[in-house]
Symmetry: C2
Subunit: 342 residues, 2 copies
Amino acid sequence: MRVTLKDIAEEAGVSIMTVSNVINGRHARVSADTVERVRRIVTERGYVPSASARSLAARTSRLIGLLVPAADEDSLAISPHNTAIFGQIERRLRRRGYHLLLRGISDTAEITEALRSWSLDGAVLLGFLDEEVDRLGPAVAGPIPLLTIDSYSTNPLTTGVRSDDFTGARLAAAHLLGLGHRRIVFAGPRFTDVGVVHERFLGFRRAFEDFDLSAEDSPVETVNTTHEEGVALGRRLLADHPTATAVFATADILAIGLIEGLADAGVPVPARVSVVGFDDIDISAYVTPKLTTVAQDLVGKATSAVDRLLDVAGGGQRPTAPLVLDVHLVERGSTAPPGGVG
Amino acid sequence: MRVTLKDIAEEAGVSIMTVSNVINGRHARVSADTVERVRRIVTERGYVPSASARSLAARTSRLIGLLVPAADEDSLAISPHNTAIFGQIERRLRRRGYHLLLRGISDTAEITEALRSWSLDGAVLLGFLDEEVDRLGPAVAGPIPLLTIDSYSTNPLTTGVRSDDFTGARLAAAHLLGLGHRRIVFAGPRFTDVGVVHERFLGFRRAFEDFDLSAEDSPVETVNTTHEEGVALGRRLLADHPTATAVFATADILAIGLIEGLADAGVPVPARVSVVGFDDIDISAYVTPKLTTVAQDLVGKATSAVDRLLDVAGGGQRPTAPLVLDVHLVERGSTAPPGGVG
DNA sequence: CTGAAAGCGCTTACAG
DNA sequence: CTGAAAGCGCTTACAG
């Protein structure tokens, strides 16, 4: 049978209230002797408090949800970038005495269910579309704090943490422009779906302005963020855009596919076409050529996401502005001055 | 305020017991009319049962833990291979009406705490060393079912799901031997730590026997399963083993590093040295040359892990033998007949 | 510094 | 088919 507060209390000859006070570190209310004795018995008996009893009585669960979109028949949409965030979030929560409930969401209505069912103290939303976040009404979360990662939704019910996408794309494009490229393909998902992409597009254009150039001749290719679509685009890139000399892809996984597709088509990278990605996932340093890309502060993102969320959960003010993390360019082998155009 | 059974019961003019019966689908005990009425009110009011109250009263939480080793200052040890399993496990659990608690474990003593604290109905242990699993005594889990993935521990308190490592390595080595290679480096972590590696080594050796050859001239290199150590080994491979013509690495991430290290040393793959990996992670198809490797049934592993665990949790017999999943060889570009030895 | 009482929101026998 | 009672293991005021 489970060891309970009552068992400890009986053995120590005190009330369960006193044991509870010791367990919860409210030592001001208990004599040092009692604390000592109760502590010893707790250790001896291997007492572990019941989290469900505690959350039922205390109305705080010390449980945080990590909510990730999951198409019904799909597994979680775990991109390499998001994956890296998982572990960091768990680690930070653990350090702060919280636990992590990982939940795939196939319909935003399920968010409410996940939140209420376990009386979550808060939740991190990772990978949802801005419009999905926009639609979250007060009925969904009630007073439960919600934190979005990488969202540009301005829904006041949520607070956000994201990278400086605008600057990242601006750096990437400036790097290519500085090398001498003028016709640069912008490859990424539909802007309307993802604010992140829109911001990156704006940053991309801004770099042209910085150089007193126009981005008008630089085509936009709309593709999903997968290796597969990158390969497909790489194969037809020069057929569709013969004068292009570089590509900026909004994600490394896409850029890596692009490089492969270009290779398939006999196009040397970076001699004929330079490629820049975004994210700096591990793989980007493993491919050939190694990918020039924009690095995000993954650890910072996860850590500050947790800290922000727990602040609000702890009664802090809900921040009005999102936290924006710095990015920087990592120059590797996939970019070079243009030369193969002839 | 939270909507409770009591609220629904009052509005429906029945007892909370009846509402409970409807919620839990015990329709045999309730008239169709009542079911209908209660259902409607539940939907209208957006009632969500309290999981903590339920698990406290019912002594079953419908919560499964996914326990992963985590060095204290580290984030979770999330290898690309394990990552892929996460999403699949979550998906399967969700389909079966369970929730997932993700927890990093820095000391096996924490396993008990995680299990008891949340009254988990079971836990999946992913990535622990066999000896760690061996040491798990009855005090750790009590009656809570534990399932290990990829462990060769024979601890009767656990039940296991893993791939056929022996056959996988045998296939890999047979492939190389069939191509004409005779001196093949076996690269992987220490056997004593990881049963999986030992099994792969045995399979590797068996392939030599199958060919009436001896593996004696084939050196063993002990390295950790990281890209970095793969690179280092690749760089010095031919200096240390000038007559080697192939390498079998116990993990793709290691094999990918090896290929890079070999390239750094000016050794062409596969012309001079062939490389075979194990796992068939996504990246393996993205690198140059694409990696020949042993593919595991990841989805099957995750799915059957969950199913086995829930069977036992549901009162089923604890299986004595682990479930062993088939593997197969995926031939890609990193292997070819030996030719560059001269 | 210590404790008795009420209550968190459910489920489990049990009785009708 | 339906319900009153007890209890799961805690915490929260409150009183001493």
